[in-house]
């Protein structure tokens, strides 16, 4: 098991959109290593001739008739929003200033 560096954890945290303090990063690096050390044993039996299972049900393309039915009003859909404006979710700036 290779060591998991603080930089690696910081990179993963950025991918996961999760701000972590330097302390949290160091702690998680150690914990991640311990957990991965315990779970890496799946590789012992995961031979190339074994097909992976992603899901217990063999369902393909479940569809239902495309019928209009009652749904949430804009008011109720926005009822839990941290901020809204003109019947829309208001979000912080998404593009940089230069865009």
């Amino acid at each position: 098991m290779s060591r998991i560096s603080n930089e690696e954890v910081a990179r993963i945290a950025q991918l996961a959109r999760l701000e972590l303090s330097a302390n949290e990063i160091a702690e998680l690096a150690g914990e991640l290593e311990a957990i991965l050390g315990a779970v890496a044993r799946v590789q012992e039996v995961a031979k190339s001739d074994v097909l992976p299972t992603s899901h217990p049900l063999a369902l393909v393309n479940v569809v239902r008739p495309d019928v209009v039915r009652p749904s949430l009003t804009p008011e109720s859909a926005l009822s839990g929003a941290p901020a809204s404006e003109e019947d829309r979710f208001r979000v912080p700036q998404i593009l940089g200033e230069e865009a």
């Binding site: 779970v39 799946v42 097909l51 479940v62 109720s76 929003a81 979710f89 912080p92």
Partner: protein
């Protein structure tokens, strides 16, 4: 009317039907018990006193008019806080959803309401169902009614504790790796993880979508079956819902006969790591089933040894994706939105402030396991183990009708004992996890006490043969209850308002 709280749902159903008691009286008795003991137990995150009484009054009015009501009409229930209930705070045990009131109800909630079941409130759980003790709840730990210094199991510790503390005769849980069965085991109650796809998950906050399943919890096998029948069935709103009739679970619980059945004991789920008291109760239960006419044989499922490892790759991987929806944009917490920060910065700050330690740990673990360069070694390998475990089950079920094991290796451990050692905590689920990986059905029911604390007996049945769980469970329960003078919770300590508060 305090004796009402000690009755089973089936007994209450009968008294209600005969109009010996009203739904309001039954509901009030349970609300009073919650007021009396929940400071000590902390099973509930929210109690909907007015709503529950209003539901009860509706049932009483319908009964007075002679309407045809289902068997559970007027019987109270505790709802795990992972299910959306319109207008009622739903947190999933997380700060990130604190104060959120869903604009719609889960299908299971709609079915409960249609059946006249009275929803008392929302129960505590590990944050986003990640944990085995409720210690990961953002809103405090639930105490085990058998010993208030011990964990009630998790993630559904609130639902199980509510049953054992006689705050409700019925509860709903969800089970991704054992979150219904492990709490049932350590609280001396009954919990069923139905076949994957057997109960709708529409409106249930997702943790690991290929494993999550909602299920019934109660103090008796028959009560669990009555609830199972109410909540199960196909739902157009859940694409993973099985479109087939629900197995006849109530009839099976009433039949309670194991004569001629073949029961397989899973060799890999015993021995080292299982406390002697747990093994002794398990062996005694096997002896009862043998004396009732079942054949017991040892069955080997060699790949179960890899189940825990596969689970702790698959579940965090799926969680890291599912929990991406908590992005501070459409609902829940938002932190740092002061006009100077980008959406991405607000997202990262909000998730940092809103998620607890275990959730962060699993998001990081899952993101790592799915990231470029590691996907095949970790997530891919875990998916292959899943195939091998499914094959082990298929082979075992070709020679036996059900499989059995202890539900957990130990009785309830003290609060705080494992909270700083994630790997030790994960071991609580070693016997329950293979079931979720294969999508089969399983029950935990009480097998007795070890040093005064409940021990769970697990029964596993093939997919869509959930009725076998109830057939075997009810047979075992009948004999054990005769020995104990009632189901195990009859022996639970009677809590009073001063206990541990």
């Amino acid at each position: 009317m305090s004796e009402l709280i000690y009755k089973s749902a089936a007994q209450l159903s009968e008294s209600l039907a005969k109009k010996e008691v009203s739904a309001r009286e039954v509901t009030q008795a349970h609300l009073d018990q919650i007021t009396k003991v929940d400071k000590a137990v902390h099973a509930f995150l929210y109690v909907d006193t007015e709503g529950a009484l209003a539901q009860a009054d509706q049932v009483d009015a319908a009964r007075a008019k002679g309407e045809n009501l289902g068997p559970l009409a007027g019987v109270p229930l505790a709802l795990k806080d992972i299910l959306a209930q319109e207008g009622i705070p739903t947190t999933c045990g997380s700060k990130i959803l604190e104060g959120w009131r869903p604009p719609y109800s889960a299908t299971v909630v709609k079915k409960l309401r249609a059946a006249g079941v009275v929803i008392l409130g929302k129960t505590n759980m590990d944050e986003f169902a990640m944990g085995s003790s409720t210690e990961n709840s953002a809103f405090g730990t639930t105490q085990n009614p058998w010993d208030l210094t011990r964990i009630p199991g998790g993630s559904g510790g609130g639902s199980a504790a509510a049953l054992a503390a006689f705050e409700a005769p019925l509860a709903i849980g969800s089970d991704t790796g054992g979150s219904i069965r492990q709490p049932a085991a350590v609280t001396g109650t009954v919990g069923v993880k139905p076949t994957y796809g057997g109960v709708s998950r529409y409106g249930v906050i997702a943790y690991s979508s290929s494993l999550d399943q909602v299920g019934p919890c109660a103090r008796t096998v028959l009560d669990t079956a009555l609830l199972h029948e109410v909540i199960a069935g196909h739902d157009d709103y859940d694409a993973t819902s099985i479109n087939a009739p629900t197995p006849p679970v109530v009839a099976a619980a009433k039949r309670a006969d194991v004569k001629g059945m073949k029961i397989g004991v899973i060799k890999e789920l015993s021995g080292d790591g299982y406390e002697s008291g747990v093994s002794e109760r398990f062996e005694e239960s096997l002896e009862i089933l043998r004396s009732q006419g079942a054949t017991i044989e040892m069955v080997s499922c060699p790949n179960f040894d890899y189940g825990l490892a596969a689970y702790y790759l698959i579940a965090p991987s799926e969680a890291s994706s599912n929990l991406a929806r908590f992005d501070a944009m459409r609902y829940g917490l938002r932190v740092g939105d002061d006009g100077s920060r980008s959406a991405e910065e607000v997202m990262s700050m909000t998730r940092a402030a809103g998620f607890g330690r275990e959730v962060k740990r699993r998001i990081i673990l899952g993101t790592y396991a799915l990231s470029a360069g590691y996907y095949d070694a970790y997530y891919g390998s875990a998916q292959k183990v899943r195939t091998l475990i499914t094959q082990d089950f298929a082979k075992a079920f070709s020679s036996v009708d059900v499989l059995v094991s202890p539900t957990t290796p130990t009785v309830a451990f003290p609060i705080g004992a494992k909270s700083n050692d994630p790997v030790a905590m994960y071991l609580s689920d070693v016997a329950t996890i293979p079931v979720n990986l294969a999508g089969v059905a399983a029950m935990s029911l009480p097998a007795g006490l070890s040093e005064g604390l409940p021990v769970g007996f697990q029964i596993i049945a093939p997919a869509m043969k959930d009725d076998r769980l109830y057939q075997v469970g009810a047979a075992l329960e009948r004999e054990l209850a005769a020995k104990w003078g009632g189901v195990l919770t009859t022996k639970a300590p009677k809590l009073n308002s001063s206990a541990g508060a």
